[in-house]
């Protein structure tokens, strides 16, 4: 039985080695100092135990040199730990540009994953080995936490906003996914798996699950919820055109500017009055309660992918194009 007892987690992502090196560095330094203190205490307790002629000397009161030594030396080591720790943390905070994007929605007590290409999974996430994967996470109810020990990534998943992290798996295999922020009755059951596959197998898995891309789903919602009525690309538009919006700076009525990221788009759909775009009237209704977190992700994916000239035609009500709007072969509607 003891042979099967793991004492150290697998290193299955590019972060794992970096986190472990830092950990072992701190363990080595602190173990050395703790050992020194322990040895000194035991030595003193034995050497100076109460007995005649034990070299007792109650005159000693302190030593400025020693105090300075054991104040400054730890400070130096602590700063090394701090800088090293911050570097590892920053590396995980900044995802590579070419990362494959996956959206994750947590709710009591399950994980819902959405791939860019439209596949949905529950409590399982399939990813290819050797490919950076960027996760965008949100929650439908309370705070959860996305934790894959073998990848050394952990991030709280909050309702009402998007969190980001990334990993690049280095080994094919199946890894545990835990919710690591207490979230109620079945917190311990909010666990899943990350399945890391060879690239070719992963592509095969993807095509067997094809559903049409997230952006395509979002385009359907854009028409279904009548967003097109106002956000159209023609002269009767009553709201800003959304083409090429993602990542741009947007000027607001109150003179401020804001970057159009996922959180901004989400807020603009749920709370349209919170930030009014300069030059437009606050006429948009809130879609809170109508659009759920998964649909929101699809809408955002659509807006992210929307390039100039790709806004659907206003009266194109029922028939979405057969082709993915993000793919090259898209036929642009003539305004």
């Amino acid at each position: 039985m003891f042979a099967a007892v793991p004492l150290f987690p697998e290193q299955a992502s590019t972060h794992a080695g970096r986190v472990d090196s830092l950990f072992f560095f701190i363990v080595a330094i602190t173990a050395a100092v703790s050992l020194l203190v322990t040895v000194l205490i035991i030595t003193f307790a034995v050497r100076y135990r109460r007995r005649p002629n034990n070299n007792y000397d109650p005159h000693i009161q302190g030593s400025m040199k020693l105090e300075l030594f054991w104040t400054i030396t730890p400070f130096f080591f602590f700063m090394v730990m701090f800088v090293w720790g911050a570097r590892v943390y920053f590396a995980v905070a900044e995802s590579p540009i070419d990362a494959m994007e996956v959206y994750v929605v947590g709710k009591q007590w399950m994980w819902k994953m959405q791939h860019q290409t439209g596949q949905r999974e529950i409590n399982v996430l399939h990813v290819p080995v050797g490919q950076a994967v960027k996760l965008t996470l949100t929650s439908e109810d309370v705070i959860h936490d996305f934790f894959v020990p073998d990848f050394r990534i952990k991030l709280d998943v909050l309702p009402g906003r998007y969190m980001h992290t990334w990993f690049q798996a280095t080994k094919v295999g199946t890894y545990d996914l835990y919710c690591s922020q207490y979230c109620g009755t079945n917190h311990a059951g909010m666990i899943g798996k990350v399945v890391v596959m060879e690239k070719a197998q992963f592509d095969g898995w993807l095509s067997s699950q094809a559903e049409g891309s997230l952006a395509l789903q979002g385009r359907k919602l854009f028409l279904k919820y009548q967003c097109i009525t106002c956000h159209s690309a023609d002269s009767q538009a009553r709201a800003p055109v959304l083409e090429g919006l993602f990542g741009r700076m947007v000027a607001l009525e109150d003179g401020k500017t804001v970057v159009a990221n996922e959180d901004y788009i989400r807020e603009s759909i749920y709370k349209p009055r919170a930030k009014i775009v300069f030059g437009w009237r606050p006429i948009m209704p809130s879609f809170e309660g109508q659009i759920d977190e998964q649909e929101m992700i699809e809408l955002i994916a659509f807006i992210k992918a929307l390039r100039p000239g790709e806004t659907p035609v206003r009266n194109e009500e029922s028939t979405p194009p057969a082709v993915d709007p993000t793919s090259e072969e898209v036929t642009r509607p003539k305004p």
Binding site: F2, V5, P9, V19, F23, I26, T30, A31, V33, S34, V37, I41, F44, Y48, R49, R50, N53, Y56, D57, P58, H59, I60, G62, S63, E67, W70, T71, P74, F78, M79, M81, W84, G85, A86, R87, Y89, V92, D141, V142, I143, F147, R152, I153, K154, L155, D156, L158, P159, G160, R161, D176, Y178, S180, Q181, Y182, C183, G184, T185, H187, A188
Partner: protein, 564 residues
């Protein structure tokens, strides 16, 4: 501490029965419930927090039993969630925060500065009643159905999602907070206004320095907790959006407010323990503390810096990376004064005359366990490591090393050290040494495996877990059973000693503190004549020189050293 007293300190005391002391000054329930004597109030607190400790311990026992098996067979998930909430709430607010200040601090703060009582005796009694009212409220909430939010009450789970007795529990905690504020206020005023002639700040015993730092934290931090918890109640009851994003609130705001209290309060738990350790180490190695100013100022530094590190509980919670960076750096800063203390305690042992009696065993155990807790804190302060171990059993192990390995070990040490003063009776040394060993090794066996579990990735607050973690969990539960027996030992023999322990006399350890210069148990007024202080604390040098004639210790001291 060398003092000038009316009567010779080592004079043979009259038999305790024939002498008036705080225990036989009056009899009857009323004389206890209406007392304003700080010593009697300390005894009231002792009984109350001991009861709470065993309640919280019972919850811990059930938790560890449930975790013997991966499926969590003993209790349901909901019951488990209520158990760990009960364990946390009781142990934090109704045991660890009050235990050392309100029991040992209440009893010895006035005595150690040469005062007859605290500055505000009625406020002191009121603090006990407020504490009991808060405890009654919270216990009622827990027994009448329980609460399942965890002691951290994270929103929006606590304000929206939980269907348990959140509001009554919070009311009890807010009420008991006023008791902390009363105590903090009382201690600060007493240390400023009630010191005996000659008791300058530079001569204050280190236990007093640490209680002073603790009191400042209690005064400044507790109101913020009351604000945070009240806002949770407001949101939960009136549906006003404060923390719940669905109502327009911000869940991280709660975490900021909560940890602004709850991080400093870790130092409320451990600072007084550090003070006790300084008293014990000096007494049982018969030396003055090494680097008095550094140890004293380290307490103040911890209290100040402790207010600037709260967001290190939120490295993975969604704060900005730059904010995380600053809080990581500050967390390393607060580790330095703690390290200074450990080094100074170790240096104090050098060339001492060391006797390993029970309090000393607890104090040395404190240093060992607190050091492990401290250095694992350095790992958590590193952003890159915290990202992996946050909210796992690594954290559980870390803070139990600080709060149980640290505070509770120090409390046990202090309780044994001062027991003869409080009761006039000696505890049985043999049994006590066995208890110290059981507690130390039981603790290590309970919590060391949890570091491994945590780095492996087992999240905290899991009612059930993957089978690969079972062996380490079983080790931990086995350790917990040893620990539980260890705690039952002192409970039993200390009670026994009340009737059957040997009479201790005023100063069985030949300690230097003012509290030892008066009979045991002390009279209601503590001192027959106000003591006048002429030297710093821990003047074991003078005592050793006096002892040369008695030839008991310090044979080699016949030639006095340089003046100090």
């Amino acid at each position: 501490m060398s003092t000038v007293l009316e009567q010779e300190p080592q004079a043979v005391p009259p038999a305790p029965e024939s002498r008036r002391n705080y225990l036989n000054a009056a009899f009857g329930v009323k004389s206890w419930l209406l007392t304003t004597d700080h010593k009697r109030i300390a005894i009231l607190y002792l009984a109350s927090v001991t009861f709470m400790f065993f309640l919280g311990g019972a919850a811990a026992t059930l938790i560890r039993l449930n975790l013997m098996t991966p499926q969590g067979d003993l209790v349901t998930a909901d019951t488990y969630n209520k158990l760990f909430t009960m364990h946390g709430v009781i142990m934090v607010w109704f045991f660890l925060v009050p235990v050392i200040p309100n029991v040992l601090g209440n009893f010895f703060l006035p005595m150690m500065i040469g005062a007859r009582d605290l500055a505000l005796p009625k406020i002191n009694l009121a603090s006990w009643y407020v504490f009991m009212a808060g405890a009654a409220f919270t216990l009622w909430a827990i027994l009448a159905g329980g609460v399942d939010t965890g002691w951290t009450f994270y929103t929006p789970f606590s304000s929206k999602s939980s269907h348990t007795n959140v509001i009554p529990t919070l009311i009890g905690i807010v009420i008991s907070g006023f008791s902390s504020i009363f105590t903090g206020l009382n201690f600060v005023v007493t240390v400023h206004r009630m010191r005996a002639p000659g008791m300058t700040w530079g001569r204050l015993p280190l236990f007093i320095w640490s209680l002073y730092a603790t009191s400042v934290i209690l005064l400044l931090a507790t109101p913020v907790l009351a604000i945070a918890l009240t806002l949770v109640m407001v949101e939960r009851f009136f549906q006003i959006g404060i923390f719940d994003p669905a109502l327009g609130g911000d869940p991280l705001l709660f975490q900021h407010l909560f940890w602004f209290y709850s991080h400093p309060v870790v130092y409320v738990m451990v600072l007084p323990g550090m003070g006790i350790v300084s008293e014990i180490i000096t007494c049982y190695s018969r030396k003055t503390i090494f680097g008095y100013q550094f140890v004293a100022l380290a307490s103040i530094a911890i209290a100040v810096l402790g207010f600037l590190v709260w967001a290190h509980h939120m490295f993975v919670a969604g704060q900005s990376v730059y904010s995380a960076m600053i809080f990581s750096a500050l967390s390393y800063a607060v580790a330095i004064p703690s390290a200074i203390k450990v080094f100074n305690w170790t240096a104090t042992l050098y060339k001492g005359s060391i006797s390993l009696q029970t309090p000393m065993l607890f104090a040395l155990g404190f240093i060992a366990l607190f050091t492990i807790g401290g250095v694992t804190g350095l790992m958590l302060a590193a952003l890159g490591v915290d990202m992996h171990v946050h909210d796992t059993y690594f954290i559980i192990a870390h803070f139990h090393f600080i709060m149980v390995g640290g505070s509770v070990m120090a409390y046990m040490g202090g309780l044994h050290y001062w027991w003869p003063k409080m009761t006039g009776r000696l505890y049985p040394e043999g049994w006590a040494k066995v208890a110290a060993m059981l507690i130390f090794f039981g603790f290590i066996l309970t919590f060391l495996p949890q570091f491994v579990l945590g780095y492996l990735g087992m999240p905290r607050r899991y009612h059930a877990y993957p089978p690969k973690y079972q062996v380490l969990n079983a080790m931990s539960s086995a350790g917990a059973s040893i620990l539980a027996v260890g705690y039952l030992f002192p409970f039993t023999y200390l009670l026994w000693s009340l009737g059957y322990g040997k009479r201790s006399g005023p100063n069985p350890w030949k300690a230097t503190g003012l509290e030892w210069q008066t009979p045991s148990p002390p009279p209601t007024d503590n001192f027959e004549t106000t003591p006048i202080v002429t030297t710093g604390p821990y003047n074991y040098l003078q005592q050793a020189l006096t002892d040369v004639e008695e030839n008991e210790i310090g044979d080699q001291l016949r030639a006095p050293g340089p003046p100090v």
